[in-house]
Amino acid sequence: MIEFHNVTKRFEGGYEALSNVSLKLDEGHMAFITGHSGAGKSTLLKIIALIEKPTRGQALLNRVNLNTMPRRRVPYIRRNIGIIFQDHQLLFDRNVFDNVSLPLHIQGYRPQEIAKRTRAALDKVGLLHKEKSLPITLSGGEQQRVGIARAVVHKPMLLLADEPTGNLDPELSREIMQIFVDFNQVGVTVLVASHDLDLIDDLDKPRITLNRGKLILNDLEDIAQEADGGWQ
């Protein structure tokens, strides 16, 4: 599903967010990216979401090269990805239902279909009773769950989450992570960036650790040395 071959991302001014990173995440798998803030977790996710382009190396999504993706095709690639942000990125001028149904509107679903799928997604995150509420009236945990519902409403093949539990207490964080695990169990590929090591330890999923842009731990198949290590 995701392949990085010697990917380097250098920003203007010479700051290197990713240095020579190679990794491979197969379809239907779930992994965590860990590391201190500034280690390059977000940059890695942004390259997959076509927000940033690698300076060097190749990034592939489903064997499609992301480096050379023309601008007009970007939206169609993104429709296969559900993205969850630490700060939710909800639109505060419309209610929960309208926030969650936005990806379906964009993809041109019919109104009946939109209503059905939106309610299904809200039900999955336990917020069906809040569909008419405005996001501002919800707690942080609820807002994050609205963000998750919006990310999964169009049934993407890949879920990316950047510090989804950043502002939540441990109990809520566990609930959120469990939602990701549940999605993975029904076949969705999931990649979560988090520094919440205690939580990750409990979940028993492969881990990628970055330090100052360098891969220092990779539980996934190691494609950098062309070794046949597989799951370690």
């Binding site: 007009r72 939206p75 993104r78 990125q89 639109l91 990806p103 509107h105 041109g108």
Partner: protein, 318 residues
């Protein structure tokens, strides 16, 4: 992207088209709701557009009225015939009768030498000086009123009258008319220039309003881009916003011009009484109204298109 292909196939083509039309309708309603939600901003923008467009609109109407009035003048051009001094009054009257029966001639008026002198004595104030003249220097005069005829036919009539041996000078009183037409032509071109300039102003006003609108909805644009919205999808509500501004601005400008002409119609009525004329004020016809509204709407669309093309592409998630 095997998964997406399967999913896309599930949406039949007819569904896609109806969903596309539905989104157009939704964008239309969304932009209308936004206008409704921020009445103060909308009213100000629309008022500025309305006032701006009312200027060329008003000038156009003014020109249309002048044109109508000058059309009346065109048919009222007169030919003055100054006859040979040797001609007796009897001969002159016979000629007057002959001319009045000519084709193209509507009516004639005969002014004898003595009457001309009498009129001149009274009107000019040179009474005493005229008394010192030994003989009357003025000729018999015939004023010819051509019937309904174009300028060319009137010129032909003038030539044939000039050719008569009894006629010393035939004069068509059109010089002032030609001056008037030149002035009208200048006014007409000025209206074109004003229209072009003020249309550009409207383009800029709408462009700027849409630009601010784009800035205000920065976050929304970022989010929709991140979840796979195409540029066309994001563009649509802004374009409809521009269309609404243009349409409402056009209606306001129409109202302004109509009210302005209502205000003028009072004094004009009095002027009509004083001049015993029956000038009727021409206002916008239905045709004019449609043209005004259509052009202002198109200006709105063009203005928002410029803003969207310039600013929307610059907004990318980081």
């Amino acid at each position: 992207m095997a998964g997406s292909n399967i999913r896309r196939k599930k949406l039949a083509t007819s569904n896609r088209i109806s969903a596309y039309l539905l989104h157009h309708l939704q964008s239309l309603m969304f932009s209308l709701r936004k206008i409704y939600a921020a009445p103060a901003t909308t009213i100000m923008t629309v008022a500025v557009i309305g006032i701006t467009l009312s200027l060329p609109g008003g000038f156009y109407l003014f020109l249309k009225n002048i044109d109508a009035i000058s059309g009346d003048f065109r048919s009222s051009s007169q030919i003055s015939l100054f006859l040979d001094l040797e001609l007796s009054e009897k001969q002159a009257r016979a000629l007057d009768k002959k001319i009045s029966k000519m084709e193209l001639v509507d009516s004639t008026r005969f002014i004898s030498r003595d009457k001309s002198l009498e009129e001149f004595r009274q009107d000019s104030g040179f009474g005493k000086s005229i008394d010192t003249l030994s003989s009357n220097p003025l000729p018999h005069t015939i004023i010819v009123e051509p019937g309904e005829a174009d300028t060319f036919a009137v010129r032909n009539l003038l030539n044939s009258l000039q050719a008569m041996p009894e006629v010393k000078i035939a004069k068509l009183d059109t010089e002032w008319l030609e001056r008037l037409y030149t002035i009208i032509e200048i006014a007409r071109r000025s209206v074109v220039i004003i229209t072009v300039l003020f249309s550009c102003a409207v383009l800029l006003i709408i462009g700027n309003t849409i630009r601010l609108d784009i800035q205000n909805r920065y976050q929304e644009i970022i989010v929709t881009k991140l979840i796979g919205a195409t540029d066309a999808f994001i563009r649509r509500p802004f374009l409809y916003g521009g269309v609404w501004y243009g349409l409402l601005g056009g209606i306001i400008s129409w109202l302004i011009v109509e009210i302005g002409y209502l205000a003028i119609s009072g004094p004009l009525g009095r002027l009509n009484l004083l001049y015993k004329s029956d000038m009727n004020l021409i206002t916008f016809s239905f045709h004019d109204f449609i043209i005004l509204i259509t052009s202002s709407t198109l200006l709105g669309l063009a203005g928002s298109w410029i803003a969207v093309a310039r600013h929307l592409n610059q907004i990318e998630p980081t």
